[in-house]
Amino acid sequence: MHCCIVCQSLSVQRVELSGKGEVLESTEMLSKSGEFPIEVPYHLALVKLDEGPNLLGILEEPTAVKVKVVFKKLRDGERARIFFVADR
Protein backbone atom coordinates (compact mmCIF):
# COMPACT_ATOMS: atom_id res chain seq x y z
CA MET A 1 0.00 0.00 0.00
CA HIS A 2 1.26 3.43 -0.85
CA CYS A 3 -1.15 5.23 1.45
CA CYS A 4 -2.53 4.93 4.93
CA ILE A 5 -5.59 2.66 4.83
CA VAL A 6 -7.28 4.71 7.55
CA CYS A 7 -6.73 8.34 6.48
CA GLN A 8 -5.32 7.88 2.92
CA SER A 9 -2.30 10.03 3.73
CA LEU A 10 0.51 9.52 1.21
CA SER A 11 3.09 10.43 3.81
CA VAL A 12 4.08 6.84 4.63
CA GLN A 13 7.36 5.05 5.21
CA ARG A 14 8.59 1.47 5.59
CA VAL A 15 8.72 0.28 9.17
CA GLU A 16 9.62 -3.09 10.63
CA LEU A 17 6.71 -4.78 12.39
CA SER A 18 6.76 -7.26 15.24
CA GLY A 19 5.20 -9.96 13.05
CA LYS A 20 2.83 -10.75 15.90
CA GLY A 21 -0.90 -10.65 15.62
CA GLU A 22 -4.27 -12.24 16.26
CA VAL A 23 -6.38 -14.47 14.02
CA LEU A 24 -9.61 -12.65 13.10
CA GLU A 25 -11.09 -15.53 11.08
CA SER A 26 -9.81 -18.63 9.34
CA THR A 27 -11.15 -21.07 6.79
CA GLU A 28 -10.25 -24.65 5.94
CA MET A 29 -9.69 -24.87 2.21
CA LEU A 30 -10.36 -28.05 0.23
CA SER A 31 -10.06 -26.36 -3.13
CA LYS A 32 -7.25 -24.12 -4.34
CA SER A 33 -5.70 -22.37 -7.28
CA GLY A 34 -3.85 -24.81 -9.56
CA GLU A 35 -0.61 -22.85 -9.29
CA PHE A 36 -0.50 -22.65 -5.48
CA PRO A 37 2.29 -25.01 -4.41
CA ILE A 38 0.72 -26.49 -1.27
CA GLU A 39 -1.77 -29.34 -1.28
CA VAL A 40 -5.22 -29.05 0.26
CA PRO A 41 -6.48 -29.16 2.90
CA TYR A 42 -4.85 -26.09 4.41
CA HIS A 43 -6.13 -23.31 6.65
CA LEU A 44 -6.10 -19.72 5.48
CA ALA A 45 -6.25 -17.02 8.15
CA LEU A 46 -6.96 -13.31 8.19
CA VAL A 47 -4.68 -11.94 10.88
CA LYS A 48 -4.69 -8.49 12.46
CA LEU A 49 -1.10 -7.55 13.28
CA ASP A 50 -0.49 -5.88 16.62
CA GLU A 51 0.43 -2.67 14.77
CA GLY A 52 -2.92 -2.59 12.93
CA PRO A 53 -2.73 -3.90 9.34
CA ASN A 54 -4.24 -7.21 8.23
CA LEU A 55 -2.45 -10.04 6.44
CA LEU A 56 -3.68 -13.25 4.84
CA GLY A 57 -1.60 -16.40 5.03
CA ILE A 58 -1.50 -20.07 5.85
CA LEU A 59 -2.30 -20.92 9.45
CA GLU A 60 -0.10 -23.86 10.39
CA GLU A 61 -1.90 -24.58 13.66
CA PRO A 62 -5.65 -24.23 12.99
CA THR A 63 -6.61 -23.53 16.62
CA ALA A 64 -3.98 -20.83 17.23
CA VAL A 65 -5.27 -17.34 18.08
CA LYS A 66 -2.09 -15.46 18.94
CA VAL A 67 0.25 -15.96 16.03
CA LYS A 68 3.46 -14.73 14.48
CA VAL A 69 4.45 -14.42 10.84
CA VAL A 70 6.97 -16.77 9.25
CA PHE A 71 8.11 -16.09 5.69
CA LYS A 72 8.81 -19.20 3.63
CA LYS A 73 10.34 -19.50 0.18
CA LEU A 74 8.64 -22.53 -1.35
CA ARG A 75 10.50 -22.49 -4.66
CA ASP A 76 13.87 -21.17 -5.75
CA GLY A 77 13.76 -17.74 -7.28
CA GLU A 78 10.32 -16.91 -5.95
CA ARG A 79 9.27 -14.39 -3.37
CA ALA A 80 8.50 -15.67 0.10
CA ARG A 81 4.96 -16.50 1.17
CA ILE A 82 3.25 -15.73 4.46
CA PHE A 83 2.62 -18.41 7.09
CA PHE A 84 1.37 -18.02 10.64
CA VAL A 85 2.57 -20.14 13.54
CA ALA A 86 1.34 -20.08 17.15
CA ASP A 87 3.06 -17.38 19.22
CA ARG A 88 3.76 -19.12 22.51
Binding site: L24, E25, T27, K32, S33, I38, N54, R81
Partner: protein, 382 residues
Protein backbone atom coordinates in the same frame (compact mmCIF):
# COMPACT_ATOMS: atom_id res chain seq x y z
CA UNK B 1 -33.57 -0.62 -22.63
CA UNK B 2 -35.42 -1.77 -25.73
CA UNK B 3 -34.31 -5.36 -26.07
CA UNK B 4 -32.18 -8.12 -24.60
CA UNK B 5 -30.93 -11.59 -25.37
CA UNK B 6 -29.16 -14.34 -23.51
CA UNK B 7 -27.39 -17.53 -24.54
CA UNK B 8 -28.34 -20.35 -22.19
CA UNK B 9 -25.77 -20.70 -19.40
CA UNK B 10 -24.08 -24.04 -18.86
CA UNK B 11 -21.41 -26.36 -20.19
CA UNK B 12 -21.63 -25.26 -23.80
CA UNK B 13 -19.21 -27.79 -25.24
CA UNK B 14 -17.81 -26.80 -28.63
CA UNK B 15 -19.12 -23.24 -28.38
CA UNK B 16 -16.66 -20.35 -28.09
CA UNK B 17 -17.33 -17.14 -26.19
CA UNK B 18 -17.76 -15.43 -29.52
CA UNK B 19 -20.36 -17.93 -30.72
CA UNK B 20 -22.24 -17.64 -27.45
CA UNK B 21 -22.27 -13.86 -27.76
CA UNK B 22 -23.71 -14.16 -31.28
CA UNK B 23 -26.41 -16.43 -29.85
CA UNK B 24 -27.32 -13.73 -27.32
CA UNK B 25 -27.34 -11.07 -30.07
CA UNK B 26 -29.57 -13.26 -32.26
CA UNK B 27 -32.18 -13.31 -29.52
CA UNK B 28 -31.79 -9.60 -28.86
CA UNK B 29 -32.61 -8.79 -32.50
CA UNK B 30 -35.44 -11.33 -32.59
CA UNK B 31 -36.96 -9.61 -29.57
CA UNK B 32 -36.86 -6.24 -31.36
CA UNK B 33 -37.79 -6.70 -35.04
CA UNK B 34 -37.49 -3.00 -35.93
CA UNK B 35 -33.87 -2.87 -34.73
CA UNK B 36 -31.15 -3.37 -37.34
CA UNK B 37 -27.41 -3.72 -36.93
CA UNK B 38 -26.94 -0.33 -38.60
CA UNK B 39 -28.80 1.34 -35.73
CA UNK B 40 -26.10 0.24 -33.28
CA UNK B 41 -23.46 2.95 -32.82
CA UNK B 42 -21.19 1.23 -30.30
CA UNK B 43 -20.75 -2.08 -28.53
CA UNK B 44 -19.48 -2.71 -25.00
CA UNK B 45 -18.46 -6.22 -24.01
CA UNK B 46 -18.02 -7.38 -20.44
CA UNK B 47 -15.36 -10.07 -20.53
CA UNK B 48 -13.12 -10.74 -17.59
CA UNK B 49 -10.37 -13.22 -18.22
CA UNK B 50 -8.08 -13.48 -21.24
CA UNK B 51 -6.66 -16.81 -20.15
CA UNK B 52 -9.70 -19.04 -20.70
CA UNK B 53 -9.63 -18.66 -24.48
CA UNK B 54 -6.15 -17.13 -24.77
CA UNK B 55 -7.74 -14.09 -26.36
CA UNK B 56 -7.29 -10.41 -25.60
CA UNK B 57 -9.26 -7.47 -27.02
CA UNK B 58 -12.31 -9.68 -27.47
CA UNK B 59 -14.83 -6.97 -28.33
CA UNK B 60 -13.89 -6.17 -31.96
CA UNK B 61 -13.90 -9.86 -32.88
CA UNK B 62 -17.22 -10.48 -31.16
CA UNK B 63 -18.71 -7.43 -32.93
CA UNK B 64 -17.37 -8.12 -36.43
CA UNK B 65 -18.33 -11.76 -36.14
CA UNK B 66 -21.97 -10.66 -35.94
CA UNK B 67 -21.54 -8.27 -38.88
CA UNK B 68 -21.07 -4.98 -37.09
CA UNK B 69 -18.74 -3.05 -39.36
CA UNK B 70 -16.13 -0.73 -37.88
CA UNK B 71 -18.21 0.47 -34.91
CA UNK B 72 -16.48 1.22 -31.62
CA UNK B 73 -16.28 -2.13 -29.81
CA UNK B 74 -14.67 -2.04 -26.39
CA UNK B 75 -14.03 -4.74 -23.83
CA UNK B 76 -14.81 -3.79 -20.24
CA UNK B 77 -13.29 -5.69 -17.33
CA UNK B 78 -14.08 -5.49 -13.65
CA UNK B 79 -13.90 -9.28 -13.20
CA UNK B 80 -17.22 -10.64 -11.90
CA UNK B 81 -18.96 -7.35 -12.54
CA UNK B 82 -17.62 -6.82 -16.07
CA UNK B 83 -21.19 -7.08 -17.36
CA UNK B 84 -22.31 -4.46 -14.84
CA UNK B 85 -19.49 -2.21 -15.99
CA UNK B 86 -20.43 -2.83 -19.62
CA UNK B 87 -23.97 -1.67 -18.84
CA UNK B 88 -22.63 1.35 -16.98
CA UNK B 89 -20.42 2.30 -19.93
CA UNK B 90 -23.41 2.07 -22.24
CA UNK B 91 -25.41 4.37 -19.98
CA UNK B 92 -22.51 6.84 -19.95
CA UNK B 93 -22.31 6.61 -23.74
CA UNK B 94 -25.96 7.68 -23.86
CA UNK B 95 -25.57 10.41 -21.25
CA UNK B 96 -22.53 11.86 -23.02
CA UNK B 97 -24.66 12.49 -26.09
CA UNK B 98 -22.17 10.70 -28.32
CA UNK B 99 -24.43 7.75 -29.17
CA UNK B 100 -28.18 7.32 -29.54
CA UNK B 101 -28.16 3.50 -29.48
CA UNK B 102 -25.66 1.01 -28.14
CA UNK B 103 -25.41 -2.64 -27.20
CA UNK B 104 -23.98 -3.65 -23.84
CA UNK B 105 -23.22 -7.28 -23.31
CA UNK B 106 -20.93 -9.81 -21.79
CA UNK B 107 -19.52 -13.23 -22.57
CA UNK B 108 -17.28 -15.75 -20.87
CA UNK B 109 -16.11 -19.20 -21.90
CA UNK B 110 -14.93 -21.11 -18.83
CA UNK B 111 -15.57 -24.84 -19.10
CA UNK B 112 -12.69 -25.53 -21.49
CA UNK B 113 -10.37 -25.54 -18.45
CA UNK B 114 -10.11 -27.98 -15.54
CA UNK B 115 -11.41 -26.77 -12.18
CA UNK B 116 -7.91 -26.08 -10.70
CA UNK B 117 -7.00 -24.18 -13.88
CA UNK B 118 -10.26 -22.23 -13.71
CA UNK B 119 -9.71 -21.35 -10.04
CA UNK B 120 -6.19 -20.21 -10.90
CA UNK B 121 -7.62 -17.87 -13.52
CA UNK B 122 -10.53 -16.66 -11.39
CA UNK B 123 -8.13 -15.99 -8.50
CA UNK B 124 -6.70 -13.16 -10.60
CA UNK B 125 -9.74 -11.26 -9.31
CA UNK B 126 -7.94 -10.98 -5.98
CA UNK B 127 -4.71 -9.18 -5.02
CA UNK B 128 -1.64 -10.98 -6.41
CA UNK B 129 0.87 -10.15 -3.68
CA UNK B 130 -1.27 -10.22 -0.56
CA UNK B 131 -4.14 -12.62 -1.38
CA UNK B 132 -3.42 -15.08 -4.22
CA UNK B 133 0.24 -15.49 -3.39
CA UNK B 134 -0.50 -16.60 0.16
CA UNK B 135 -3.10 -19.19 -0.75
CA UNK B 136 -6.36 -17.23 -0.98
CA UNK B 137 -9.07 -17.79 -3.57
CA UNK B 138 -12.28 -15.83 -4.11
CA UNK B 139 -14.16 -18.59 -2.30
CA UNK B 140 -11.89 -18.39 0.74
CA UNK B 141 -12.24 -14.60 1.03
CA UNK B 142 -16.02 -14.98 1.00
CA UNK B 143 -15.76 -17.87 3.47
CA UNK B 144 -13.94 -15.53 5.84
CA UNK B 145 -16.68 -12.93 5.33
CA UNK B 146 -19.28 -15.61 6.11
CA UNK B 147 -17.49 -16.54 9.34
CA UNK B 148 -17.24 -12.91 10.39
CA UNK B 149 -20.93 -12.39 9.56
CA UNK B 150 -21.88 -15.37 11.69
CA UNK B 151 -19.75 -14.12 14.57
CA UNK B 152 -21.21 -10.60 14.41
CA UNK B 153 -24.83 -11.29 13.45
CA UNK B 154 -25.51 -15.00 13.95
CA UNK B 155 -25.93 -15.84 10.26
CA UNK B 156 -25.74 -19.63 10.17
CA UNK B 157 -24.86 -22.19 7.52
CA UNK B 158 -28.60 -22.99 7.36
CA UNK B 159 -29.37 -19.36 6.46
CA UNK B 160 -26.78 -19.53 3.69
CA UNK B 161 -28.27 -22.81 2.47
CA UNK B 162 -31.73 -21.19 2.25
CA UNK B 163 -30.35 -18.72 -0.31
CA UNK B 164 -29.16 -21.61 -2.48
CA UNK B 165 -32.50 -23.45 -2.12
CA UNK B 166 -34.49 -20.35 -3.18
CA UNK B 167 -32.23 -19.57 -6.13
CA UNK B 168 -32.25 -23.16 -7.38
CA UNK B 169 -36.05 -23.09 -7.21
CA UNK B 170 -36.13 -19.96 -9.38
CA UNK B 171 -33.56 -21.40 -11.80
CA UNK B 172 -35.62 -24.59 -12.13
CA UNK B 173 -38.21 -22.61 -14.10
CA UNK B 174 -35.69 -20.60 -16.13
CA UNK B 175 -34.73 -22.08 -19.52
CA UNK B 176 -31.53 -19.96 -19.55
CA UNK B 177 -30.31 -21.37 -16.23
CA UNK B 178 -27.53 -23.93 -15.80
CA UNK B 179 -28.45 -25.59 -12.47
CA UNK B 180 -32.10 -26.43 -13.03
CA UNK B 181 -32.35 -28.78 -10.10
CA UNK B 182 -34.42 -28.41 -6.95
CA UNK B 183 -32.40 -28.82 -3.77
CA UNK B 184 -33.03 -28.86 -0.01
CA UNK B 185 -31.25 -27.19 2.89
CA UNK B 186 -29.95 -30.64 3.82
CA UNK B 187 -28.51 -31.13 0.31
CA UNK B 188 -26.54 -27.91 0.71
CA UNK B 189 -25.31 -28.76 4.20
CA UNK B 190 -24.24 -32.24 3.05
CA UNK B 191 -22.41 -31.03 -0.06
CA UNK B 192 -18.63 -31.10 0.13
CA UNK B 193 -16.75 -28.27 1.76
CA UNK B 194 -14.91 -25.96 -0.64
CA UNK B 195 -13.69 -23.44 1.96
CA UNK B 196 -15.38 -23.73 5.33
CA UNK B 197 -18.16 -22.80 5.98
CA UNK B 198 -18.90 -22.56 2.23
CA UNK B 199 -19.83 -25.81 0.54
CA UNK B 200 -20.17 -26.77 -3.10
CA UNK B 201 -23.85 -25.76 -3.19
CA UNK B 202 -23.07 -22.37 -1.62
CA UNK B 203 -20.98 -21.52 -4.70
CA UNK B 204 -22.00 -20.38 -8.16
CA UNK B 205 -20.95 -22.77 -10.91
CA UNK B 206 -18.14 -22.24 -13.41
CA UNK B 207 -19.95 -22.14 -16.74
CA UNK B 208 -20.20 -20.63 -20.22
CA UNK B 209 -22.63 -17.94 -21.24
CA UNK B 210 -23.32 -14.61 -22.89
CA UNK B 211 -25.93 -11.88 -22.77
CA UNK B 212 -26.65 -8.52 -24.35
CA UNK B 213 -29.04 -5.60 -23.98
CA UNK B 214 -29.82 -2.72 -26.35
CA UNK B 215 -30.02 0.80 -24.94
CA UNK B 216 -31.18 3.90 -26.76
CA UNK B 217 -32.02 7.49 -25.93
CA UNK B 218 -35.41 7.65 -24.19
CA UNK B 219 -36.95 9.88 -26.84
CA UNK B 220 -36.43 7.35 -29.65
CA UNK B 221 -37.31 4.24 -27.63
CA UNK B 222 -40.92 4.09 -28.86
CA UNK B 223 -39.59 3.66 -32.41
CA UNK B 224 -38.19 0.28 -31.39
CA UNK B 225 -40.40 -0.96 -28.59
CA UNK B 226 -43.95 -0.66 -27.29
CA UNK B 227 -42.69 -1.52 -23.82
CA UNK B 228 -39.33 0.20 -23.35
CA UNK B 229 -37.76 0.11 -19.91
CA UNK B 230 -36.21 3.28 -18.51
CA UNK B 231 -32.89 3.09 -16.68
CA UNK B 232 -33.48 5.73 -14.01
CA UNK B 233 -30.46 5.06 -11.80
CA UNK B 234 -26.88 4.08 -12.66
CA UNK B 235 -23.80 4.13 -10.49
CA UNK B 236 -20.45 2.48 -9.91
CA UNK B 237 -17.98 2.38 -7.01
CA UNK B 238 -14.77 0.63 -6.00
CA UNK B 239 -12.92 -0.37 -2.84
CA UNK B 240 -9.49 -1.55 -1.69
CA UNK B 241 -8.53 -5.23 -1.70
CA UNK B 242 -10.37 -7.40 0.82
CA UNK B 243 -7.24 -8.05 2.92
CA UNK B 244 -6.71 -4.36 3.58
CA UNK B 245 -10.25 -3.67 4.80
CA UNK B 246 -11.26 -3.40 8.42
CA UNK B 247 -14.92 -4.11 7.68
CA UNK B 248 -15.53 -7.56 6.20
CA UNK B 249 -19.18 -8.15 7.14
CA UNK B 250 -20.40 -5.72 4.49
CA UNK B 251 -19.14 -4.21 1.26
CA UNK B 252 -18.87 -0.45 1.33
CA UNK B 253 -18.64 -0.16 -2.48
CA UNK B 254 -22.20 -1.53 -2.67
CA UNK B 255 -23.46 1.00 -0.14
CA UNK B 256 -21.74 3.91 -1.89
CA UNK B 257 -22.99 2.87 -5.34
CA UNK B 258 -26.57 2.11 -4.38
CA UNK B 259 -26.97 5.36 -2.45
CA UNK B 260 -26.16 7.21 -5.66
CA UNK B 261 -28.50 5.02 -7.70
CA UNK B 262 -31.40 5.59 -5.28
CA UNK B 263 -30.76 9.33 -5.23
CA UNK B 264 -30.52 9.53 -9.02
CA UNK B 265 -33.77 7.61 -9.46
CA UNK B 266 -35.61 9.22 -6.55
CA UNK B 267 -36.70 5.90 -5.09
CA UNK B 268 -36.16 4.03 -1.84
CA UNK B 269 -35.49 0.29 -1.45
CA UNK B 270 -39.11 -0.16 -0.30
CA UNK B 271 -40.29 0.91 -3.78
CA UNK B 272 -38.55 -2.00 -5.54
CA UNK B 273 -40.59 -4.90 -6.89
CA UNK B 274 -37.63 -7.18 -7.51
CA UNK B 275 -33.85 -7.23 -7.62
CA UNK B 276 -31.08 -9.26 -9.23
CA UNK B 277 -28.11 -9.20 -6.85
CA UNK B 278 -24.59 -10.58 -6.90
CA UNK B 279 -24.69 -14.02 -5.29
CA UNK B 280 -21.52 -15.72 -6.51
CA UNK B 281 -21.54 -17.20 -2.99
CA UNK B 282 -24.65 -17.48 -0.82
CA UNK B 283 -23.16 -15.17 1.82
CA UNK B 284 -22.97 -12.45 -0.86
CA UNK B 285 -26.76 -12.40 -1.22
CA UNK B 286 -27.30 -12.02 2.54
CA UNK B 287 -24.75 -9.19 2.66
CA UNK B 288 -26.31 -7.60 -0.45
CA UNK B 289 -29.74 -7.43 1.27
CA UNK B 290 -28.10 -5.40 4.03
CA UNK B 291 -25.85 -3.19 1.90
CA UNK B 292 -28.65 -2.43 -0.59
CA UNK B 293 -30.92 -1.31 2.23
CA UNK B 294 -33.49 -4.08 1.81
CA UNK B 295 -33.02 -4.59 5.57
CA UNK B 296 -30.81 -3.37 8.40
CA UNK B 297 -27.27 -4.76 8.87
CA UNK B 298 -27.50 -8.18 10.49
CA UNK B 299 -31.09 -8.77 9.38
CA UNK B 300 -30.28 -10.39 6.05
CA UNK B 301 -30.71 -13.81 7.61
CA UNK B 302 -34.25 -12.89 8.69
CA UNK B 303 -35.27 -11.88 5.15
CA UNK B 304 -34.27 -15.26 3.75
CA UNK B 305 -35.67 -17.17 6.75
CA UNK B 306 -39.08 -15.49 6.38
CA UNK B 307 -39.17 -16.10 2.59
CA UNK B 308 -39.42 -12.36 1.99
CA UNK B 309 -37.09 -12.54 -1.00
CA UNK B 310 -38.95 -15.39 -2.70
CA UNK B 311 -41.20 -14.68 -5.68
CA UNK B 312 -44.40 -13.40 -4.06
CA UNK B 313 -42.51 -12.13 -0.99
CA UNK B 314 -41.86 -8.53 0.05
CA UNK B 315 -39.15 -8.17 -2.62
CA UNK B 316 -38.27 -11.01 -4.95
CA UNK B 317 -34.50 -11.42 -5.25
CA UNK B 318 -32.74 -13.34 -8.00
CA UNK B 319 -35.85 -14.48 -9.84
CA UNK B 320 -33.51 -15.75 -12.59
CA UNK B 321 -31.85 -18.15 -10.15
CA UNK B 322 -29.02 -15.68 -9.65
CA UNK B 323 -25.36 -16.34 -10.32
CA UNK B 324 -25.76 -19.19 -7.84
CA UNK B 325 -28.10 -21.28 -9.97
CA UNK B 326 -28.60 -19.55 -13.32
CA UNK B 327 -24.82 -19.57 -13.47
CA UNK B 328 -21.86 -17.21 -13.37
CA UNK B 329 -20.10 -16.95 -16.72
CA UNK B 330 -18.18 -14.06 -15.25
CA UNK B 331 -18.29 -11.35 -17.93
CA UNK B 332 -21.93 -12.06 -18.78
CA UNK B 333 -23.42 -12.05 -15.30
CA UNK B 334 -24.08 -8.29 -15.07
CA UNK B 335 -25.92 -7.92 -18.37
CA UNK B 336 -27.54 -11.29 -17.67
CA UNK B 337 -29.19 -9.57 -14.70
CA UNK B 338 -30.48 -6.82 -17.03
CA UNK B 339 -31.80 -9.53 -19.36
CA UNK B 340 -33.84 -10.87 -16.44
CA UNK B 341 -35.25 -7.39 -15.80
CA UNK B 342 -36.18 -7.15 -19.49
CA UNK B 343 -37.92 -10.52 -19.55
CA UNK B 344 -39.76 -9.87 -16.27
CA UNK B 345 -40.97 -6.40 -17.29
CA UNK B 346 -41.99 -7.50 -20.81
CA UNK B 347 -43.75 -10.61 -19.46
CA UNK B 348 -41.53 -13.10 -21.23
CA UNK B 349 -41.10 -15.45 -18.25
CA UNK B 350 -43.24 -18.43 -17.24
CA UNK B 351 -46.18 -17.62 -14.95
CA UNK B 352 -44.56 -19.45 -12.02
CA UNK B 353 -41.56 -17.12 -12.19
CA UNK B 354 -43.38 -13.90 -13.08
CA UNK B 355 -43.15 -11.12 -10.49
CA UNK B 356 -46.60 -9.56 -10.05
CA UNK B 357 -46.88 -6.14 -11.73
CA UNK B 358 -43.11 -5.47 -11.89
CA UNK B 359 -42.58 -1.72 -12.19
CA UNK B 360 -39.26 -1.04 -10.44
CA UNK B 361 -36.19 -3.26 -10.35
CA UNK B 362 -32.58 -3.08 -9.18
CA UNK B 363 -29.51 -4.87 -10.48
CA UNK B 364 -26.37 -5.19 -8.35
CA UNK B 365 -23.17 -6.51 -9.85
CA UNK B 366 -19.97 -7.04 -7.85
CA UNK B 367 -16.41 -7.76 -8.93
CA UNK B 368 -13.96 -9.46 -6.57
CA UNK B 369 -14.76 -9.54 -2.85
CA UNK B 370 -16.48 -6.13 -2.81
CA UNK B 371 -13.85 -4.45 -5.00
CA UNK B 372 -16.05 -3.19 -7.89
CA UNK B 373 -19.80 -2.60 -7.77
CA UNK B 374 -22.39 -1.30 -10.22
CA UNK B 375 -26.04 -0.72 -9.43
CA UNK B 376 -28.84 0.13 -11.89
CA UNK B 377 -32.49 0.98 -11.32
CA UNK B 378 -35.01 0.08 -14.02
CA UNK B 379 -38.53 1.44 -14.42
CA UNK B 380 -41.25 -0.05 -16.59
CA UNK B 381 -43.25 2.45 -18.69
CA UNK B 382 -46.24 0.13 -18.90
Amino acid sequence: MISAGCAAYGRRVGMSGRELFSEALDELFQNCPSLTRKDVKALYLGQAFESFEHQANTAPGHASSFGFQNIPAVRVDSVSSSGGSSLRQGVLGMLSGEYDLVICGGAEKMTNKTTPEAIEIISMASNRDFEQWNGATLTSLNAIAAKAHKRKYGTTEEHLAMVAVKNHKNAFENPKAYLRKLITVEDVLKSRIISSPLKLLDCSPICDGASAVALCKPEIASKFSETPIDIIGSSEASDSDFVFRNEITGFKATRVAVKQAYEMSGITPEDLDFAEVHDAFTINEIIAYEDLGLCEPGEGKDLIYKNETSIGGKIAVNTSGGLKAKGHPVGSSGTGQAFEVFTQMTRRVSSSRQVRDPKLALTHSMGGAGVSVQTHVFSSRS
